[in-house]
Assembly symmetry: C2
């Protein structure tokens, strides 16, 4: 078969390992592809056959500086990242063969786990198992807690979401609509602008590559912004502060515009305007909400079943494409949550 | 009498008017001193004889760019600013001769008012009428709502207050202590550092002019910061974010470090660390709390009566000193709320 190289065999475990830390985004020299035998679980462990691997902009930080939460990945290690897979062997009382689980399994075909590191079972089976990396996984939970707990929307609120076509943004905008808000999203390019309105139900789109941001925001949100759900930072964050309304909430979720700038990190120079609007910026991290993941999964699954939430997935195929797919996130190539299929999905 | 120049006469109304917008802080050419007859109130108005005038760093913004809330003061106008005085003539049903009132009366001996612009009566008479500009006026109210409503202290919280020797900071630190918090203040110079501990009851002081800020904060607050009450911005805000604890609150109240920097305004470059700490920055403005001023006045007055709150006042004397006193705020010259006495106080 022509696709042999892309699919798992039962004897080899392909792995992407870190070769060099990137200076720019990610290049051909950042990772190397290796093989080793499929690992066997010991007592208290289980083995997962990976079906989908997740990609998110923050993953670049793992290999550059680790971010604040994660350790920096050592050279030679298997690249860190979440995946969803099927338990194929288990000596762990909490995980049975056949369970669909998602967790920090890394860029490989097979992973051994003891359940630590926020390994979760996919309980709500309302679609492909890839949803465990998108709307029904940490991505969707981030949108859920960010919007509802931090943003606290009420019907009629004017909501701006940046990175609206991304994994978190594509869910956050739909949740804001479910909450009865008017939603505007920012994204890169005309095609995406059309897509977030047509496919995700945003009321309006702003192409950040296009016209003057300030006037585009003023036009799309003439009464100002009640909630700004920020995945981008930088100039967009400043423009949003300029248009924030009294009692406005800024949900600080991501800052993709800053992930590559190294030493030139910048805060919003107009942050003090928060004073004049009684507005606030809330940072939050999804790990903080760990004891409420089940609640998020249930509600998100219900909305999917009801047809009110359309999980937007940009699905690639082939283990070999991982580095390129990570790079693509920074070039605004993805429409929705980016996942790479590397094995057969029993839920499909 | 030698002091005649400093005191009111019954026939002349001295006024400080804006002559030139300052480039630096304030210089000898910024204001000019003029005289006119004492004004007479018409129907619906009353006349106030000013006793004390207030000084605060934000006042420089009125003459430079107006800030966001206030209009920029036109050249030739009487300098804007709050004062406290005695009603000496009234054709207004809400204000009687003898009332002690505080409001935006400007830099002059006598003012006509129709009660607009947040003219308040001093109800709680627990000291000199100057308290209406400090602990029992907008200054104290700002500390009160900023700490309690925005900061939400609980006993045992670690609180850092910048500008701790200033008008707002000198009250905020004492309120944090009343709330059972451990309080650390930043200020400029050794004398002030000693003073905020001895006179205001701060647990520790950090001289921002002295050693490395980061290590000073780490030493004074080894477990990190739960509440940062910020009157300063700039490097101090960044250092505080570096030491914020999980669920930390940053009360954005002032930014004196930024008031003079013109185009070079900066936001905290590490603002995104709020994400890793689930921390937040709240801007607030005292006008937002207008319908609760009475509550603040009553509670603050009670704490003063009980000896738990010591209003810290840096009292100057003489109308001629106003421009110099304003300048002094930016040179960190004041110990506590800066007021200038320009007339006799019936409460003294």
């Amino acid at each position: 078969m022509a696709s042999t190289a892309s699919h798992q065999s039962s004897t080899a475990n392909r792995q992407w390992r870190l070769r060099n830390r990137p200076v720019g985004i990610v290049d051909g020299d950042t990772f190397e592809l290796t093989e080793c035998p499929v690992p066997q679980p010991r007592e208290g462990e289980f083995c997962v056959r990976l079906i989908f691997l997740s990609l998110a902009p923050v993953m670049r930080a793992y290999i550059v500086d680790g971010g604040v939460i994660e350790e920096r990945l050592p050279i030679g290690s298997v690249m860190r990242g979440r995946g969803v897979g099927e338990v194929i062997a288990s000596h762990h009382p909490g995980f049975a063969v056949g369970d669909i689980v998602h967790g920090p399994f890394g860029w490989q075909d097979y992973a051994i786990s003891d359940g630590s590191g926020r390994v979760l079972k996919l309980n709500a089976r309302v679609g492909s198992s890839s949803l465990a990396l998108g709307a029904l996984g940490l991505t969707g939970f981030t949108a859920y807690f960010g919007l509802f707990d931090i943003g606290r929307p009420t019907a009629g609120d004017q909501v701006l979401v940046s990175g609206a076509a991304g994994g978190v943004g594509s869910v956050a905008g739909q949740l804001a609509r479910i909450a009865g808000c008017r939603t505007v999203g920012t994204c890169g390019g005309r095609d995406k602008s059309r897509w977030i309105v047509d496919a995700l139900g945003y009321d309006a789109a702003i192409d950040y590559r296009g016209a003057d941001l300030a006037s585009a925001i003023r036009e799309a949100l003439p009464d100002g912004i009640d909630i700004y759900f920020d995945n981008v930072g930088g100039a967009l964050l400043e423009a949003a502060i300029d248009h924030i309304r009294n009692d406005g909430r800024i949900v600080v979720c991501g800052s993709i515009s800053q992930y590559l700038s190294g030493e030139d990190k910048r805060g919003p120079s107009n942050y003090f305007d928060l004073v004049y609007r009684n507005a606030r910026m809330h940072g939050f991290h999804i790990y903080h909400y760990e004891n409420r993941f089940r609640e998020a999964e249930e509600r998100l699954a219900t909305w999917i079943e009801e047809g009110r939430l359309a999980p937007a997935e940009d699905r690639r195929s082939g283990f070999e494409t991982m580095p390129e797919a990570l790079r693509g996130l920074f070039e605004s190539a993805n429409f929705g949550k980016c996942v790479v299929q590397i094995g057969d999905d029993p839920l499909a």
